[in-house]
Symmetry: C2
Subunit: 348 residues, 2 copies
């Protein structure tokens, strides 16, 4: 019996995770679901944003469903030393699970083009998959310190790190339109020069059917807004991926529609990309679509149950039309939207 760990976290995390769990129980009733702490609430309880009981629980998990972590800008958590802050719990979790490839589908739902900040003719039909390297670059290790008046961070990549995430991108492109754009800053950074070299060599060795091109990160930031349909799969390093995947996420018009999957060698991590939205936490009005779609990605990539995943995707698409939430210009609250998903599932 597969075991899923849920980590609802902070802010609206518990509300949207509860909705996703309700849906999971419906389409995968045989799965065991166990809840644990992460982020600010974990710090408040255990003095650690990624506490030992949570670490232990992950050992025999098949997949992890995360809510959101972190508080408001002026939250007391932000006054803690960096390693005790909620976000550090998230970074430590990614590392513990070995999730090196963060997958973020960016799809404009037909009929919902009007939600996009882009002109509808640019938004229509956009279907991009961003693959972000999640365990390397300037985020982890290396020399990092503030030393009086000087601060340092180190950006670092190794060939095996580049190859394993590029493999995920090539594999995903094979299921899609067969095109990968690798993003770097090779005109300035040695790290990007290695990245470009290794991605190219891997394609030449093992993925000759894939069309690969390389673009600079500043140019992609422009083109993803002015001509988003040119992209199929985008693969890039951690920091560029952080920026570009959030940027691309605005195209569909609401972060409430954006799920993600982080894959590695062990259990995968699935989470909505929106933040903890402390301003609306506890009000029961958060859009749970992204959390529910993340549960869909969990079934697809984590438990290899594509049928159940497709069921969820169809039910969410119906519910978005029937009961749009406030971020989509509708009036449905979390419960109402979730009920709409449930009834679409039951009648399917």
């Amino acid at each position: 019996m597969p075991k899923i760990i849920t980590l609802p976290g902070d802010g609206i995390g518990p509300e949207v995770t509860a909705a996703a769990v309700q849906v999971l129980r419906e389409v995968a009733p045989d799965v065991t679901i166990e809840e644990h702490l992460i982020g600010g609430v974990a710090y408040d309880t255990h003095g650690d944003p990624f506490p030992q009981p949570t670490r232990d629980a992950l050992k025999d998990a098949d997949a992890v469903l995360l809510g959101t972590v972190g508080g408001a800008q002026d939250s007391a958590w932000n006054l803690l030393p960096r390693h005790l802050r909620p976000e550090s719990g998230l970074l430590a979790l990614r590392k513990a699970l070995g999730c090196y490839a963060n997958l973020r589908p960016v799809r404009v739902q037909p009929g919902l083009e009007h939600l996009s900040p882009l002109k509808p003719e640019l938004a229509r039909g956009v279907d991009i998959l961003i693959v972000r390297e999640l365990l390397g670059g300037v985020y982890f290790d290396g020399d990092r310190k503030i030393d009086g008046d000087t601060a340092y961070n180190t950006m670092r990549y190794t060939t095996p790190e580049v190859e394993r995430v590029a493999r995920v991108a090539f594999w995903a492109a094979e299921q899609r339109r067969g095109r990968v754009t690798s993003v770097d800053k090779a005109n300035v950074l040695e790290v990007s020069e290695l990245w470009r070299r290794d991605v190219t060599a891997l394609r030449d060795r093992e993925y000759r059917g894939i069309h690969l091109n390389h673009e600079y990160v500043d140019s992609v930031a422009m083109l993803i807004v002015s001509d988003p349909s040119r992209y199929d799969v985008i693969v890039t390093e951690n920091l560029f991926g952080d920026i570009l995947s959030d940027l691309a996420a605005v195209i569909p018009g609401s972060l409430g529609l954006m799920p993600s999957a982080s894959l590695g060698d062990g259990a995968g991590l699935f989470e909505p990309i929106h933040g903890s939205a402390p301003d609306i936490a506890g009000k029961g009005i958060a859009n749970p679509a992204a959390a529910i779609m993340s549960a869909g990605m969990l079934l697809r990539h984590g438990l290899k149950r594509p049928d159940a995943a497709n069921q969820i995707d169809r039910a969410v698409a119906l519910a978005l039309r029937a009961q749009p939430t406030r971020d989509l210009g509708g009036a449905a609250d979390t419960q109402t939207f979730t009920r709409a998903v449930m009834s679409a599932l039951e009648s399917s």
Copy 2:
């Protein structure tokens, strides 16, 4: 008599620089203008993208007007070792001039909202100034190498580097709407923690009239597209500034409309932000508006001649309506557009 050095560079650089020089001679006939080599053409002539004769000429210059550098993706220049490539000439030039603050105004011209990839109601009235730190961070110095299977770059900032560029942002905000958004990734990077600390301290010490807030780079990448009017002045480090300023530059709808100024302790550097566009180089169809507007910034910031600068801005705005170039949906070529600017100047 003020002395200006022009560095037309590669691709369409010479064409748009020639147009800007024509305009400069009209509004500032007393200025001496001297042309030198940079980028790929400088490598081809001297084996160095920033050759000694150019370095020497800068010594007594009051301002520098740059065209564009670099070739096509598959250009032979890109096969050279990094320090000989055209872009390295540009980086070396910035360093030699000590230009630490790159100013990029992003303004949607009234009546030209339809050019924006954003919905017109979002594009209307956007008026942002991006101040990018240009001599530090991961771009220069520090440990940087490829060592077999591992590559490194070092991101580094010091308090004096942060303060001098923040000062430019606060000063600019005083002439504008009094608001500065400082952009970092302080939830992950020590360098950003120093950045945030030093920007805040400087505001508290010397610019109490300015409203300062801090935002994460991934969040700004979203908000600059979904809600651009929230920003007045944005200040950020080199790499984030590279990405965000290019991103913001798409809002007005054509890179052909975007000038820039790089200021420091000596002569300033003024350049259009578009690339060398090798595909249209030599055809006489490039839009010279950004180069001409950069000449305007040169007069304003470099030679302290605001009246001449205003004259240019007004003439360009008229010419954009009378003779739009191809990138703006019109038919005017470089010459025709430049003539429209000249006649607007003469009749003003």
